[in-house]
């Protein structure tokens, strides 16, 4: 299992670097803003009108804002490393609590969107891969290109206008019932499927054209048996790799989709925190997204390792 450990190490390093860069960005931002930092924190904590010189000074001492910059930076990195991100400047809730609350919504939406996207893309991609150039393939490719050219908020607006405003089947925004999940998840799924359907199709076409498939038939297998034995596994390798890359698209997707549908997930939290300059929350949300991305990449690496003995050999060398 040495190769798996090496991958784990590489992805852990990726996560650590992401966290470091994020922490540095946030630190630089906090200190680069014009005006007195202690004053801003005080204003955020007790409200603009009630800020006094005393509270400002107390906060300056409490938060260590009077120390040299390098010391503050080290202290900040230490806090990030231990996961202690303090309180939101806006809601005054602990950042962890905020993230746990909003993360739950995003997790549900993301999982559902991902699942639906593969429910669409897998059968369609395989069907297209078996008849490249056929009518289904042409129609699918055309739709996929069009969908890939639409930012996710446009897909969402389209779905809202059709299903919520014209047909009135589904609620346009909100989060209280299962019906509220349908449009956001579908928006996300369509955006994901636009890319994965082509990756799946190309993987299937490529594998079907591979000489080892022909050779398996020369050795006496039927076409179906050759595909079952040799095709599925080989086609799964690029698809698994792409599934991890797609997480990047998911981030674009859920940030925008949550804002569009007024859905209280991590993306909405992040954007609102950015607009309100709520640095601890931005830091927390960014950190979670970066770490999950590293985790997803690790899973994809491990899947490829299990599927493809060549990668295992290369990783072991």
């Amino acid at each position: 299992m040495r190769p798996a450990l090496a991958l784990l190490g590489a992805r852990a390093a990726q996560a650590a670097l992401t966290a470091w860069l994020l922490a540095t960005l946030c630190f630089a931002f906090m200190h680069a803003l014009p005006g007195d930092m202690a004053l801003r924190v005080a204003a955020a904590r007790v409200g603009d009108e009630r800020v006094t010189v005393e509270t400002t000074e107390r906060i300056r001492r409490e938060e260590g804002l009077d120390r040299p910059l390098a010391v503050q930076y080290a202290a900040w990195l230490g806090r990030v490393a231990t996961g202690d991100l303090g309180q939101s400047l806006v809601s005054r809730q602990p950042v962890r609590q905020e993230i746990a609350y909003h993360g739950r919504f995003t997790l549900g939406l993301g999982a559902l969107g991902w699942l639906v996207s593969y429910l669409i893309a897998l059968p369609l991609g395989i069907a297209c891969g078996f008849a490249p150039g056929g009518w289904l393939d042409r129609v699918t490719t055309g739709i996929a290109v069009a969908l890939a050219s639409l930012p996710s908020f446009l897909v969402g607006i389209g779905l809202i206008s059709v299903f919520a405003l014209s047909l009135r089947w589904l609620p346009p925004a909100g989060y209280r019932t299962g019906a509220h999940m349908v449009l956001p998840a579908l928006t996300l799924a369509l955006g994901l499927a636009a890319f994965s359907v082509r990756v799946i199709r190309n993987a299937v076409v490529e594998v079907r054209g591979a000489f080892y498939m022909t050779f398996a038939r020369i050795r006496g297998r039927s076409a179906a048996s050759a595909f079952r034995h040799h095709g599925v596994r080989n086609a799964a390798i690029p698809v698994a790799t792409f599934a991890a890359l797609q997480f990047a698209y998911m981030v674009d997707g859920f940030v925008v989709v949550e804002m569009l549908f007024n859905y209280p997930g991590l993306g909405e939290l992040l954007v609102k925190a950015l607009l309100a300059r709520d640095v601890p929350v931005v830091m927390g949300a960014g950190l979670v997204i970066g770490l999950v991305y590293a985790g997803v990449n690790l899973l994809a690496d491990l899947a490829c390792l299990a599927l493809d003995p060549r990668q295992a050999a290369r990783a072991a060398a």
Binding site: F215, I218, R233, R310, A313
Partner: protein, 472 residues
């Protein structure tokens, strides 16, 4: 009398544009007999194999009939019908053995799934492989092992007719002998063989019947031994004589000049690996030919690069007429253009997409003494190159022309030493002979030193004054 294993009548193959690439081919393979089909690149010999297997590339069409193992003759255009013979009647030994194996599945599971364990082990042993190979993934096998694995899978199969498409393409001499022995053993096991090759030595060793193909037509066929002993057609005769083992040895030149190139105590190894060679001494006199040979991966090409100042050795010195290019930067700058290389793939020494003539005149940017208008025409004439070729781009000239143009490019720089790295391994025998003859002429005429890197022992022995074997 047992029926013939393969009868091809009036086979015609047309490419996607409707041009005829194979015409009027009649061939027969007796049950348990061997037929060798030889011809140069582009003669259409692989297409005949593909037609028999029903595997012609998309867009190609075939006419004529093919009868296999006594079954009723099938229209050659009916690829679907020919595919019904797969595995039970016909079997293919593919050109690229590794591409034929699923990279994600162990050998045993994909090739010997329906064979008893004992039979599989016996088949692997018959080709000289340990039974553990069944547990290996294809990527763990060398090309030669992959080929033997495929032969083993053929041994456990039933197909009486085997078609081997260029089984020795790109192999070094040791593996070449192995492959020949494997094919011979298949023949002895009673299988009928149709072997496609451009290797005359292999054709000679396999015996049986021989058919010589040229531009899609059979120019001569008969018993192999008889054809080799007394070829009737001029084309066949040229082929037989182009075999390096038939060449007259070179006139040993007796230059006693100071060596134009020398290496002392050379050592080189890739990081973390044992040294490829150490304490190697080399010297090449003006007008002398030194051959370097050895199995693939032994470091021949690397040694060539070390001698050319491209790759510093781990230990030892290189001397260019007394100056060390790795330590004396002034000498490197002064002598750089005098030490040149002739590459294996001649067209690729020219930048794609730019006319060859322009690329030759580019040389004036770094070689101020070069005067193309006076130097180039006599050179082209000597190398029998049409000046109109200079207007073409690298992809638009033939392999032989490209090699002569590459030689012209080097000679413009008035070299003192040329390292020729397998300069003819991708050329057909006739062009190979011509190119080597030209190189010999240059070496003798201009007093250039030549380091010839290659696999073909007979060719090297006939060309070089001295042969150094590297590795093991």
């Amino acid at each position: 009398m047992s029926p013939l294993a393969l009868v091809i009548r009036g086979l015609v193959i047309r490419d996607g544009h409707g041009a005829t690439v194979v015409a009027d081919v009649d061939l027969e393979v007796e049950a348990g007999g061997t037929l060798v089909l030889i011809g140069e690149t582009g003669s259409g010999k692989s297409l005949i194999a593909q037609a028999v297997m029903g595997l012609l590339p998309q867009g190609f069409t075939a006419g004529g009939t093919i009868a296999i193992n006594g079954h009723a003759a099938v229209d050659a255009g009916q690829a679907g019908l020919l595919r019904l013979f797969w595995s039970r009647e016909t079997m293919l030994l593919p050109q690229e053995p590794r591409a034929a194996l699923d990279p994600t599945m162990r050998i045993g599971r994909q090739l010997f799934e329906r064979t008893g364990r004992g039979d599989a082990v016996a088949a692997l042993q018959a080709v000289g492989l340990a039974p553990e190979v069944a547990q290996a993934y294809p990527s763990m096998l060398s090309g030669g092992m992959a080929q033997r694995v495929l032969v083993a899978s053929v041994l456990v199969g039933r197909a009486p007719l085997l078609i081997a498409d260029e089984p020795t393409k790109g192999l070094d001499p040791e593996r070449l002998d192995q492959t020949r022995d494997l094919l011979l053993s298949l023949g002895q096991a009673g299988r009928a063989l149709m072997v496609i090759t451009h290797d005359t030595a292999l054709a000679r060793a396999l015996g049986g019947r021989l058919a010589v193909l040229r531009e899609g037509r059979i120019v001569e066929q008969g018993e192999s031994a008889a054809v080799f002993a007394a070829p009737r057609q001029p084309y066949t005769r040229a082929w037989v004589e182009a075999d390096p083992s038939r060449w007259r040895p070179s006139l040993r030149c007796c230059a006693v000049d100071a060596p134009v190139l020398a290496g002392h105590g050379l050592r080189f190894g890739f990081r973390g690996r044992p040294a490829l060679f150490e304490r190697l001494d080399i010297h090449v006199p003006r007008g002398g030919v030194l051959a370097l040979t050895g199995p693939s991966g032994c470091g021949k090409t690397t040694l060539g690069n070390i001698l050319l100042g491209l790759q510093a050795p781990d230990a030892g010195q290189v001397s260019w007429a007394g100056a060390d290019p790795y330590r004396d930067r002034a000498a490197l700058k002064r002598l750089r253009r005098r030490y040149q290389k002739l590459h294996q793939d001649p067209a690729s020494v020219f930048l794609p997409g730019r006319s060859i003539g322009l690329q030759l005149s580019d040389l004036a940017q770094v070689a101020p003494e070069l005067d193309l208008s006076s130097d180039l025409p006599p050179l082209l004439e000597r190398l029998r190159l049409d000046p109109r070729l200079l207007r073409r781009r690298p992809g638009e000239v033939s392999g032989g022309e490209a090699q002569r143009l590459a030689l012209a490019r080097i000679l413009l720089m008035k070299p003192e030493l040329i390292v020729a790295d397998e300069p003819t391994s991708r050329l057909d025998p006739l062009v190979q002979r011509e190119t080597i003859a030209l190189l010999r002429e240059v070496v003798a005429g201009e007093g250039v030193g030549l380091v010839l890197i290659g696999h073909d022992r007979a060719l090297l022995a006939a060309t070089a004054d001295d042969v150094i074997t590297i590795g093991r």
